[in-house]
Amino acid sequence: AQQQEQAKPTPTQEAKAENTETLPESILIGGTLSMSGKYSKEGQMSLWGIQAAIKWVNDVHGGVSVGGKKLKLEFKYYDDESKKEAVQSLVERLITSDKANFLLAPYSSGLTLAGAPIADKHGVLYMSHGGASDRIFDQGYAYVVQTLSPASEYQTAFIDMIKAIDPDAKKIAMVYEDSEFSKAVFAGAKKHAEELGFEVVIDKTYPPNPQDLTPLLQEVKAANPDIIIGGGHFADGQLLASQMADLKLDAKAISILVAPALPAFYEALGNNAEGICGPGQWEVGVKYSPESAKEAGLEYFGPTQDEFLELFHEFAGKDVTPSYHAAEAAAAVLAYVKAIESANSLDTDKVRETMNNLHFMTFFGEWKIDPATGKQIGHKMVIFQWQGGEKKIVWPKAAANADPYYPIPTWEEKAEGKKAVKE
């Protein structure tokens, strides 16, 4: 594979002449991950995703080609404990002692913001693979770029989907966590829904870590909505579904943030999870492939989905299914490699500038940033639905591997064993 890569006539010929940098033996990407504390699940997934991507770059892709050389890609990480205090010192260590060439930002918007000034001060690129907030990109950080779709877009695709399959559905209820992330998500959703002519009958939050959502759900039940969207993180998302079941709060479709994305959701809720949708940055089974890239007139970069899954299992073990946190982290690594190779340089500014013009596809989807802010505008969310114990991608059509099941079975039917699969 290596030789083929080198033999390929690419613009590198030209750039090679320009490249006067003294190149290191290898390229180091550094990052802080939340391996303990409240984001440790996401942190663990990200780590596996990153490791898989790095392995692909080194072993399959043959390294990163810069200045005619094939440089090995390395990754170094520290645990930030999901706490803001730790981020800056660890990022600085990555930059100064470990001499990291590029950085991956930590999970969550808060931690991403905490590390940004250090990265910016040292002029090192700082790619966010878990900081979804749109506001990060309003702050004027030149070196912060985003690989995942921003928070405001999380629930819009679901609303598009409902609009497309059921023109009669009118009433939407929104119940979500009172937190920075979910508020951004549902502000975006509400705006979108109203633009599409939906009526938002309930727009209510619950505080983080609730034990009982009954008060809220009773109110929702009384409003009798067609569609319910909500959620925030893992625990409350699971609780939301579980208590809707308790109260037999039925709707034609339900979409919950974050929680349904993990297999643990189905394990926890059993048959009650049937038919529940969720937005994902990515899902196993999305149809981003070299072929679909060609169709869209884009270059495809990185492993195919199958290749990625195989590499992922090498690190995570056979039984673990990657969540989108793994994929978005992997995609961030790939985006770096793509940008470095296109810039044919390790220079931060050159790479950053190149990024402005990049538009390509990976197994994670499209990658294109808004040049002014660094915000991701190419990537699209997918909607998945639990159907017969499997997570199927149902939207957008281009990425889907199943049809949406609509309306979903009632809780009563689910208790009797009905699944969200067409007979």
């Binding site: 303990s36 504390g37 409240k38 440790s40 699940k41 942190g43 663990q44 009172d178 209510k204 939050t205 619950y206 505080p207 870590n209 609730p210 034990q211 009982d212 009954t214 008060p215 809220l216 009773q218 109110e219 009384a222 893992f234 625990a235 409350d236 699971q238 609780l239 579904a241 579980s242 308790d246 109260l247 037999k248 929680a259 993990l262 643990a264 394990e267 926890a268 809720l269 059993g270 048959n271 009650n272 208790a415």
Partner: protein, 298 residues
Amino acid sequence: MVFLEQLAGNLIYGAILGSVYGLSTMGLSLIFGVLRIVNVGHGPFIMVGAFTAFWMFTLFGLAPIGSIPVAIVLGLALGFVIFYTVIRRLLNAPELSTLLATFAIGILLEEVAKFIWGPDHRGYSWNIGDVDIGIILIPYSKILAFISSIIIAYLLYLWFQKTKLGKAVRAVVEDAEGAATCGINVRWIYALSFAIGIALTVASGVLVTLFVPVGINPYMGHEYTLKAFVIAVLGGLGSPWGAFFAGFLFGLIENGSYTILGLIPGVEPFSLTRFVAFTLLLVILLIKPTGLFGGDSK
């Protein structure tokens, strides 16, 4: 009408949740009452109980109610081990040093749980039907949680008031040296109370999952620690029954105030319910500085 119906429904769920809160606080209160230890690692023990219920159900299909005895045995074992390895050495140290120790123990439990079981948010679905009481649907599993909490609390009460050992615990609380002169093995009572306190807490973790059968993860304890503290104080520290009733009250307030706060425009009423609950705590403490059922203030 809808308003009242919703309020009634909320209060019913609040009472059920409150009974679980109450039980989960009794252990904290007992340990404080006997050993004057504020167990800041309280929540992680609830987490251990929740995982016990989860694994017993997932691996052996044991109904969560059935894992209460398992949780009690596990809790007793944990309690004794922790007492004899750590707490015993700190009995004569300044009060706050035990706080540091329990903090560390809490972290240790969380991290060990994460190490063994991973950071996943787990859950189980134990569907045994529900009952429609007209106002609201209640799953039988939640009713079971309610009944078991009351039974366990009552059994503890009986044990305390009626058995010789229970009385010895009370005696040690009141005057440890005096108890020694009666032939009571004070060190053993300390160990036993600590272990029972932990066992109660772990058992309450099982009941917590009956109410919230999802979101079981290594860090789930934090939220409960905080609430348990507040409830323990509300009930009067060191008084396990006070804790039980205060838990009840707390559940009712949290849920009940929502319906009313919902009438205020432009706010997030659910977040405000917590504000109300905590504010009420302060007000009660101002009126009665030792909590609703508390005696001395030391």
